[in-house]
């Protein structure tokens, strides 16, 4: 993918990591794709991992808004650790992204 697939911001404070993540996707389901004459494209699953532990997990459908923005918190990681996201697209393709926790 030419464009960047995701933007991640993660900040740790008092043991709690606050994460804001934006995933680039049109999130177009069947009906919308037909109307706008584009191809179907959506994220089917988002998995976030820190220190090899799953900290975030969501199965999504095309009814999330375009470029879905997720905000959540988790514990169990500190500054300097990296947070990794793995997206599974509708066709099974995987996209990964990484960011250091600040």
């Amino acid at each position: 993918m030419a464009k960047k697939a995701m933007k991640i911001k993660a900040k740790e404070k008092d043991g709690v990591v606050k994460v804001k993540a934006m995933f680039k996707s049109l999130m177009a389901d069947k009906e919308e794709a037909e109307k706008k004459n584009i191809s179907v494209e959506y994220i089917a699953q988002i998995v976030g991992k820190a220190n090899d532990k799953v900290v975030f997990e969501a199965s999504t459908s095309g009814f999330m808004s375009e470029d879905p923005l997720m905000k959540f918190e988790f514990t169990g990681a500190k500054k300097g650790d990296s947070l990794e996201f793995e997206l599974t697209m509708h066709d099974g393709k995987k996209v990964t992204g990484k960011k250091k926790i600040k």
């Binding site: 177009a28 799953v54 009814f63 808004s65 905000k71």
Partner: protein, 158 residues
Amino acid sequence: MERRNFLTMGVVAAAAVLVPGSLQAVNFRETKPKAWEAEKSSEAIKEMFGEEVFSGPDKLTAVTDKIKMTAPKLAENGGSIPIRLRSDLDIETIAFFQDANPRAATVVFTVPEGQKVDYSFRVKMRQTAYVTVVAKTKDGKLHTLNKEIDVSIGGCGG
């Protein structure tokens, strides 16, 4: 010789079954494909959780006040409605459904062990409709709540 092969296969199969679940993520799109195709929230919830807790907008069982949903009463832009879900319950799975779009299931979060529930996300809604949140706690109980969201301009390409 054949018996030995058979035994090895059995062990491998058992290991493959045991490993996911605790560590491996659950992809609800693969495990419950029917739930994602359902048109109505009630059907989707039934497929997803195997229980009927929602039979109509006003007929909701197991309503809880322990889950907080922050959503606008009136959404000006149906293409991007901010939703926030919070709870202190020991939740395993929390799912969000709406009746506005061709299929009801929108997002299902699997809460990893020991993490708090505080998720913000945005959804599309084509028209004014009820949204329903169903959460399953670790003890297997279901908790639900719903809300009507007014959409003035429909999203979803409408």
